[in-house]
Symmetry: D2
Subunit: 111 residues, 4 copies
Amino acid sequence: MPPERRLVVEFSIVTVGTQGTSLSEYVARACEAVKNSGVNYQLTPMCTIFEAGSLDQAFEVIRSAHEAVLEAGAKRVLTSIKIDDRADKGRTMEDKVKAVENKLSKQDHQI
Amino acid sequence: MPPERRLVVEFSIVTVGTQGTSLSEYVARACEAVKNSGVNYQLTPMCTIFEAGSLDQAFEVIRSAHEAVLEAGAKRVLTSIKIDDRADKGRTMEDKVKAVENKLSKQDHQI
Amino acid sequence: MPPERRLVVEFSIVTVGTQGTSLSEYVARACEAVKNSGVNYQLTPMCTIFEAGSLDQAFEVIRSAHEAVLEAGAKRVLTSIKIDDRADKGRTMEDKVKAVENKLSKQDHQI
Amino acid sequence: MPPERRLVVEFSIVTVGTQGTSLSEYVARACEAVKNSGVNYQLTPMCTIFEAGSLDQAFEVIRSAHEAVLEAGAKRVLTSIKIDDRADKGRTMEDKVKAVENKLSKQDHQI
C-alpha cells in the first residue's frame, strides 16, 4: 500500500475596499470555514496552515474559506495559497517543524 | 444579467530535489497544461497568469499544471497561487495593466 | 509620542537543485540567522514569521537568512516574503492571532 | 571575473482599508518608484517584476515602492515579494521566459 498522501497548505485572504484596516472579522470567517471542513489546521499571525489528503481536498477547503469571505460582504478578495506536495513521503505539519527544530538544536551544540 | 465573473490568477511551481538549478523543463510542462485548458494566459519571468470564469475553473487549471509537473518526475512540488477575485466587476488581465498605465502616464504629465 | 511601528513579516526560502526532497537543513540555517538577529519570531510548518521595528530591520533579517542558505551551498535560492505594515497601530504577532480567535469564539456562541 | 549577479524579483502591494475596490492608483505610485530607480522592469496584471544586481538593490527598490504607497495615504500595506537568486548564472527576465518558450515549442513538435 502506498503511503498516505499528505499535503501541507498555507493560505491567507485579504479583502480590498472593506472599511477600516482590520481584517480579523474576515479572517475569522475563513478560519471558521476551515474548522468546519474537519482538517487539521493551525492559525498563525500571517496565514492559516492545514493538512490535506489530496489536491482536491486542499482546493475544497480554500474554496469554502474564500466564499465565506465573499458572503461576509467583501467585494474584492485576494487569496494567496502555497501548497507543499511531497509525493515521496506523507509529512504532517508537526513533522515539518520538528525536522527543522532537530537541526537547529544540533547547530546550537556545535557552536 | 449580472456581469460575467472573471478572476485573474497567478501561479508558479517549484520542484524540490530535481537535478540542476534549471526549472524551465518543469515550467514548460505546467505552461503546456495551462495552454491546453484553453484559458487566456500570459507567461512572465516569475509566474504564469491566466483568467478564469470561476474559482472551480481556476483550481482545475492549476491542478492540471501541478499534476503535469509531478508526472514529469518531480518528487516534491511547491505551488504558489494568488487569486484576484473582483466580485464587483469582471476585469481582464489587460484591463488591470491598462488601469495602472493610465495612471502612470498622468503622473508623468504632472511632473 | 507616536506608537512604536511594528511590522509582522513572513518568509520562506526554497533551494533549487539541492540533493533530496528535504529542505530542513537549509531552513534550519535560515532560522538560526533569524534567531541570532534577536527579533521575536515563530517557526511554522510553512514559513518563519517575525516582528520588525522598521522595513530596514525586516530586510536585514531576511538578508541574513537568505545569505546563510547560499553559504550552506545552495546554488539557486527562491525567497518569498510577505510584509504586513500597519502604519496606524503597532500590532504584535500575538495581537493578530488573538484578534481572530476572539471573533472565532463569538461566532461559536452565535451558532 | 565572476559573472554579474542578477536577481529577478517579483512584488505586489495591496492596501487595506482604502476606499473602493480599485488599487491601480496605489500600484501606479509603486510602479513610478520602480521606474525612477532605473532598474529594468515589467508590469504584469498581478505583479511588478524587475532585475536587480544585488539583494541590497532589490530591497532598495521595494522599499521605495512600499513607502510611495504609504505616502499616498494607505494606513496598512501588505507587500509580497519573491526573489529568484541564481548564484550560478546571471539570468535576465528575458532569459527566463525564453528558456520556457524554447521547451514549449519543442513539446509542440513532439505531439
